[in-house]
């Protein structure tokens, strides 16, 4: 039975009767071209989504992060060797972060980072065969919002789908939380979220709120937020 848009699909399912524009269909994650004409093969479990006129993708509760060039991620320093740190960004391999890739860092003056510290960084390169490389500066050698994160907050892991939902412009959750609490947050595309606020209790409440929102659909979350706005 061919799957239709909105269905839950599993790897091996075939999607037929695609909508295409000038003979072109765009496929997102979780889909693969099929031998047969005008068919797609599902390679990941999740909900089949479609955006008109011709974009298909599969949305699932994914927790494994695949590095992508340009992504902003929250990483954990796991090793320090010479001028290079190994940072855990949740992908299959550790990423490397040179100590010189911080704003104002020179060979003599380097940021003081220990194993277990958290950094907010951008992926400079992400290749299948090479270890990904992180930087904490932009192309003008300015840090912007990047750099080491204070050790007062808390780091939690959420699923990648929820990250996208949180960062969605239409999602009112962070705005609503901002009305109630004063807090800083760094959301990495790798599913790691660093939160900090003035006191521990607020941070804990924020953590519980995010974990609760993760379980709920975007509609429900929006509804709750609207009620309070």
């Amino acid at each position: 039975m061919p799957a239709t848009v909105g269905d839950f699909v599993v790897p091996g399912d075939v999607i037929a009767d695609l909508n295409s524009l000038n003979g072109v269909t765009l496929t997102g994650p979780g889909l693969h071209s099929h031998e047969e004409h005008n068919c797609l093969l599902v390679t990941r479990a999740g909900t089949l989504c479609f955006k008109s006129p011709n974009i298909y993708w599969v949305e699932g509760l994914q927790k494994r992060y695949y590095p992508k060039k340009g992504d902003l991620v929250v990483g954990i320093v796991t090793k320090k060797a010479g001028n290079i740190m190994k940072v855990d960004i949740g992908s299959s391999e550790l990423a490397c972060l040179p100590l010189l890739a911080f704003e104002g860092a020179t060979k003599k003056q380097k940021p003081d980072l220990q194993v277990g510290d958290v950094v907010y960084a951008r992926l400079l390169s992400a290749h299948r065969e090479m270890e990904s490389e992180l930087v904490c500066v932009d192309s003008y050698y300015k840090a912007g919002k990047l750099g080491p994160l204070s050790s007062d907050g808390f780091v939690m892991t959420i699923n990648l789908n929820f990250v996208n939902r949180l960062l969605d412009f239409n999602c009112p959750l962070l705005h609503t939380l901002g009305k109630k609490y004063v807090f800083e947050v760094a959301i990495g595309m790798n599913g790691k979220v660093w939160i900090n606020s003035h006191n521990v209790n607020d941070t804990l409440n924020l953590m519980i709120a995010l974990l609760a929102a993760e379980q709920e659909s975007i509609d429900n979350v929006t509804k709750v937020c609207r009620q309070l706005m």
Partner: protein, 387 residues
Amino acid sequence: MRESVITNCEKKFIIKNLEEHRRLDGRAFDEFRDLSIDFGRDWGCCYVSLGKTRVLAQVSCEIQQPKSSRPSEGILSVNVELNPLGAPHFEPNRQTDLFVILNRILEKCIKDSKAVDLESLCIKVNEKVWAFRVDVNVLNHEGNIIDCASIAALAALAHFRRPDITCDGEDTIIHSYSERDPIHTVIHHYPVCISYAIFNEGDVIVADPTLLEEGVADANLIIGLNGYKEVCGLHLGGKAFLDPDSILRCTTKAAGRANIVIQHIKKVLAEDSEKRNKGIVIGFESALSSSSADINSLEKLSLCLDNWKVQKKDKKESVVVTVESNSETHVDATVESLDESSAVLLPVEENGQQVWNVSSSESDSDVEMIVPQSFKKIKPSSTICID
């Protein structure tokens, strides 16, 4: 796959929370997570979940030659498997420290405390005995595997039935379950492990640590206890200053908990045998459906977002007398008894015109008295809310 590093901020955060007598999941220091025990369709198949930690135990048996040192005793072996299903950094068939510790503690707790009557497992001295093997598989690791595994192993052993046998001379005939009723194992006492995590050099001791708490803790104290408050094993992993008193206090507390757990195991066993007698099909279906997602996560979210939300909800349901300033002044009451919708009320409320609450101690009978029409002339363009 390597184990993920616990960040410094997580460590700091947990310690700070503990100093304020709070745990991340809202439990008290000596509170345990929810325990559920379910049995499978087979004898000796047990699924235990403690919070999000999940363990599956299965007992199997075969006939073996006994050990020469104990020719008249059966053999019992406990085997904990850590496979990548439980946590990504677990590797199958690899003897990690955790693997060795888990196996040793379970062995100490169940086998060395002589919980199972091994002599009844003897078929023929020095030749044939039953060998029981308990396989414990960790399905999800969210801290405190040992408690979960010990409960699973014990419940599985208590649930297990071995096939009946008959001996005639040299031959031994094993009867299948359908042929003859299987025989249950004799269990002298029920030892379970209770674990505590020790923080701040012995200042803070929390029960049933989660994965994060285990990682941050200075030391872990695991106490094996049975229902008669007899200690069957004690293990202190890590480094912490502890005075003997605190260990004794922990043991007393653990004894209480052990009693609860054992009662629970016995209750579930009794329920299971009752179901089997009635011929109701048993399986994990019920366990899996009940352990699905958090139902009240939306409630939790709204609670975190705002605490006055609860009050606001009350206000809507409360008796509200509205006097409007338009030409035809009339009384609006948005209460179920008076048939008027709350739509009239809401815009007035948003304008924020003189909204006040009368304390909820006033009973509804008073409200009826306020409603009379003399009231509306006194206060034009105002809202009166009465809880």
